[in-house]
Symmetry: C2
Subunit: 318 residues, 2 copies
């Protein structure tokens, strides 16, 4: 059942032993929401814990610095920023049917929880959690502010993405005034790269190829790259956006080798070409500006098929 | 003479034919301030023009889309975001002694104008210009909002830099509500790279070297790079920050070849090592976290001198 924020707060006020679930492969928003709510509930004298199937990545370690794991029997199970039960990862089996309340901002939220409060207009679930914390009457301590700022900044691309609203900025202002250590958090989130990431970027930039008079750009991520760069899966985040960022490029293609002769293709387009049309030719699909497909072919053949299809698409627009 | 914003507004209200000077090699803040004020003054029925020694870079072209050059005799000369007369570049000779009002946020502003209003706490001169526009009673049209948002976002690193304040965020919220096309502006400013920039990043990442157990990282920018990458000087912006961004790196070194055997060295450090101490050994200096010096030597010798000095500095901290 969908409920509004006041109802969600009413439900939470009745609970004393709360388990907060974050999604697997956790990002700043699910962790910021979970820990922010944890600290707020603790301020209200309630028992709480945070559960996540995967470890907290190092750039979010500051969220846990005042966390204390307590032994108690869970009386209430809630999920934050978790759009579907399978996103709980390794916790799905234990918790999937038991989620009583879900706070989320994904418009695709499946309503799997007993009660769900979803703000699809919010740039981050943390926007909703901030309202929950205020309505709970919990103090927004510097620790709570750090958590909510982390989620807000990370999910909005540091206020860069179109999802950013005036309300996102006003919340950032209030969290800064509440003591969020925004300067250090921003440096950690946006100006720090692992050595593995640097080596990945080096290899990817070296792989860049231009076609159709520089209107199509292509990058390649071979299977060997992660090992070569001693990089983690997370070091590949956001790479598919790179080729389309280049001035004048209408279609950006990313070929990631899944196994010998199998390529996972990501297509990003500007406002003119439709990425889902291009991917549709290869049995894939998605959105107008971001789509994907799978191609089974040798590298040269895969590149030829894709770039020819991209050129045809561009010609058809003229 | 230093004046406050109310006095600056009073002065501006008396003027009808205003020339607004931006600094040479213009950035988003000087251009956003100049054009934002231009449109606001036009709304008040005043004549105005913008002057800059250098052309408007393509990523800021949207600021000029409703600009009309009019023929009138300048009755009042003002400068925005110009901390010293020599920053006027090619306009210095014509205007240096004639600036009647300066609006700026640089704490180093020399007070060269007859009257100066400086807000050193502001993340951008556009913060001050916004207040001026409001006190002038001019409407904040979508065009004015676009200009001021552009300056605010570009000078604050899209709200990432420590200079960002709660007031910066609140102003962003208000400009978005006034119709700033923030989504397109952000994409243009922060998610668009020239092909030249991509080739520059490729070469710079390929040049990266690690020393002292990965605690020192060094990049090299040879003279040939700009030509090789068909890149502009602006395509080198911000590169010196790159080596220090890498996790675990305490000292980031950038060697830029000025002429055969002459290297302009930029040093960036984390909170531990003092960059000015390192540069001081080579006759340079600057700030604790960002300094520079000049080294005359062959490449290998320059690298040896710098990395040895960097290692000694790190050892002395242990």
């Amino acid at each position: 059942m969908m409920i509004d924020v006041e109802q969600a707060v009413k439900r939470l006020l009745q609970q004393d032993r709360v388990c907060i679930l974050a999604h697997a492969s956790p990002d700043g928003d699910t962790l910021g929401s979970a820990y922010g709510l944890y600290y707020a509930l603790r301020e209200l004298g309630k028992q709480a814990r945070v559960r996540c199937a995967d470890p907290v990545p190092s750039q979010y370690a500051h969220l846990c610095r005042e966390y204390r794991e307590e032994d108690f029997e869970e009386g209430f199970v809630m999920a934050v920023d978790v759009a579907a039960p399978n996103l709980l990862g390794g916790l799905e089996a234990a918790y999937a049917g038991r989620v009583q309340l879900c706070l989320d901002h994904h418009p695709t939220n499946e309503g799997y929880a007993q009660e769900s409060c979803v703000w699809p207009q919010a740039a981050a679930t943390c926007e909703l959690v901030y309202e929950v914390v205020r309505l709970l009457g919990a103090p927004v301590t510097p620790m709570v502010a750090d958590c909510l700022y982390t989620g807000l900044a990370s999910d909005s691309g540091c206020f860069k993405y179109p999802s950013t609203s005036p309300q996102t900025h006003r919340m950032a202002a209030q969290l800064m005034e509440a003591g969020a250590d925004y300067s250090r958090i921003n440096e950690r989130l946006f100006d720090t790269k692992t050595k593995g990431r640097i080596l990945v970027e080096q290899a990817v930039l070296n792989s860049i190829r231009f076609f159709a008079g520089d209107r199509v750009a292509l990058i390649t991520i071979p299977r060997s790259l992660l090992e070569h760069a001693q990089a983690a899966e997370g070091d590949l985040d956001g790479l598919a956006a790179l080729p389309r960022m280049i001035e004048g490029v209408d279609i950006g293609l990313t070929l990631r080798e899944k196994e010998e002769g199998v390529w996972k293709v990501s297509v990003r387009t500007g406002s003119r070409a439709d990425a889902s049309v291009l991917c549709g030719k290869f049995g894939g699909g998605g959105h107008a500006r971001a789509s994907g497909c799978l191609i089974r072919a040798g590298y040269d053949e895969a590149v030829r098929m894709l770039t020819e299809a991209a050129e045809h698409l561009l010609e058809s627009l003229e």
